[in-house]
């Protein structure tokens, strides 16, 4: 055959290959619409008032803590870099924290948490739990020789940590409390496994300092729970959506004892914040009568009252371009959110606080 015939065949092959990929795309979930849940939201449509805004320059900051005078931010890519501002997002100060350790592994794993007058740096894998004073900026070990591995660690009071750790007894993730040199004390009745006890229990640990309570939000199911700082269960309740079972698909047996997801998990609740019994949950689900475009251009937050165990209302926080809210915190009547490179302080509508 000659070159001309060859070109024709090559062109035909090219068209066939392109068609296959285009066909795969056309029948993939990417061309389906957004899933609409059967639950209803009580939305406050009046836009939130942004009291102050600050361009952080990068999108790697998260809210590490708030006190009466300042807001403290940690950074995912530079774990020892702390930024603090006042409540008007002015007077920003950058601090380089000092780590009182000889050696470090997976350095980027360190997470900053601030509970005035202390700041905490936790690393669940080394594991290391360090604390320092705000103003002196040097962190030293809280527990001398502990080997308590955790996937999340939240400081409460001033010397204890609530941890999400793997229990050897139940072989799944459980909440536990670590105080001083005492061993980790588990409460295995709080987190209940549905699929594998690890992926299916993924969620976020929140600390309601005003009420001295712990809230745990599940990412893949509509359940959240409230406990006191000794891990006694106060309330087990549901978010307004209807997904009560985690849609987690695990791979079949892998070599090396690994466990892997075999399909993208359906994330129901993605983030949260709590203050004085008002629980703010970032939801990823479109509700029954909600406007699709509004949903896609805002981050929707469902608000619950944990002391009365009821759903209050829902609000929208506007996206910045294609960026949704990545970090959220609540303090008194203010909502602080990091969206893309920006941090904003919003006024919480009256009807929610009362």
């Amino acid at each position: 055959m000659n070159t001309k015939q060859n070109i024709i065949i090559v062109v035909l092959c090219t068209i066939a290959s392109v068609c296959v990929i285009v066909a795969l795309y056309a029948i993939s979930p990417l061309t389906e619409g957004v899933y609409r849940g059967s639950f209803k939201r009580n939305l406050i449509y009046t836009p939130l008032v942004s009291l102050s805004e600050l361009n952080l320059g990068v999108n790697s900051f998260y809210i590490a803590g708030i006190d009466d005078s300042r807001i403290y931010l940690g950074n995912y890519t530079a774990p020892l870099h702390m930024l603090s501002t006042n409540h008007q997002l002015l007077d920003s100060q950058h601090v380089r924290l000092e780590l009182g350790l000889d050696s470090v592994q997976s350095f980027q794993r360190f997470r900053l948490s601030v509970d005035s007058p202390f700041f905490f740096l936790t690393h669940g894998i080394m594991p290391e739990y360090l604390r320092g004073h705000l103003g002196i900026w040097k962190a030293t070990r809280l527990f001398p020789s502990a080997k308590d591995y955790s996937s999340e660690a939240q400081p409460i009071n001033t010397g204890s940590l609530i941890m999400k750790s793997l229990s050897t007894e139940t072989k799944s993730l459980e909440l536990a409390i670590k105080t001083g040199a005492h061993p980790l004390r588990f409460n295995n009745s709080l987190l209940n496994k549905q699929v594998d006890g690890i992926f299916c229990l993924d969620g976020k640990l929140l600390y309601d300092k005003a009420k001295a309570q712990i809230v745990y939000i599940h990412y893949y199911r509509n359940e959240f729970l409230v406990a006191d700082t000794s891990l006694n269960l106060i309330l087990r309740s549901h978010t307004i959506d209807t997904f009560s079972r985690a849609a987690i698909k695990l791979s079949k047996k892998l070599s090396g004892g690994e466990s892997m997801l075999a399909a993208p998990p359906v994330k129901i609740n993605t983030n949260g914040a709590v203050y004085n019994s008002k629980l703010f949950v970032v939801s990823s689900l479109l509700s029954r009568t909600e406007d699709m475009h509004d949903f896609l251009t805002n981050t929707v937050i469902d608000i619950y009252d944990t002391s009365e165990n009821r759903y209050v209302k829902s609000i929208y926080i506007p996206d910045k371009g294609s960026d949704k809210v990545s970090s959220l915190a609540v303090y008194k009547d203010k909502l602080i959110a990091i969206t893309g490179n920006y941090i904003n302080i919003y006024d919480i509508p009256e009807e929610i606080i009362n």
Binding site: M1, V10, V18, L30, S251, K252, L254, E258
Partner: protein
């Protein structure tokens, strides 16, 4: 006198060997860690619905094309198939990098160490290699066949 160009058929041999090497290596990697491979493609938005079919189809196509490339008589078809397959792989990666809301993890042994954009370049390079093979390969003729002008044409 017909010019004998040894370098051209040598190039085709090298191209075919490279393709066979790539496909056999990639197919074996997938088959040896089959559950992991299935879990990885299960997370890809483009193909997650067809995991059972694709997890079987891709490695077997790779092996089949390798076998076809080994047979001188059918090499040219193998080269067309190799080109089409590599083009699909390249387009798939290009699609994931531009249109997908998230990037699923990659698979393939040593190729795992490549980032996604490097993998794109790698696949594109092999697509071109297969393509040039189709242009370089001369039609297969059995030995001792005389051409129209009466000269001896040995092999291809």
């Amino acid at each position: 006198m017909k010019r004998f160009i040894p370098s051209r058929s040598l190039l085709v041999d090298i191209i075919c060997m490279l393709l066979i090497l790539l496909f056999v290596y990639a197919a074996l990697n997938k088959v040896m860690e089959f559950n992991k491979f299935q879990a990885q493609i299960g997370k890809s938005p483009l193909i997650m619905r067809y995991v059972p079919i694709i997890s079987w189809l891709v490695p077997s196509s790779e092996i089949m094309i390798s076998l076809i490339l080994l047979l001188p008589k059918f090499r040219v078809y193998g080269l067309y198939m190799a080109y089409s397959l590599m083009l699909m792989f390249t387009l798939y990666i290009g699609f994931i990098l531009t249109f997908s809301p998230y990037v699923p993890c990659s698979c393939g042994g040593i190729l795992n160490n490549l980032g996604w954009s490097q993998h794109l370049v790698f696949n594109f390079a092999f697509t071109l290699i297969a393509l040039s093979g189709t242009f370089l390969i001369k039609p297969f003729k059995s030995e001792s066949k005389t051409t129209a002008s009466g000269e001896l044409n040995l092999g291809s």
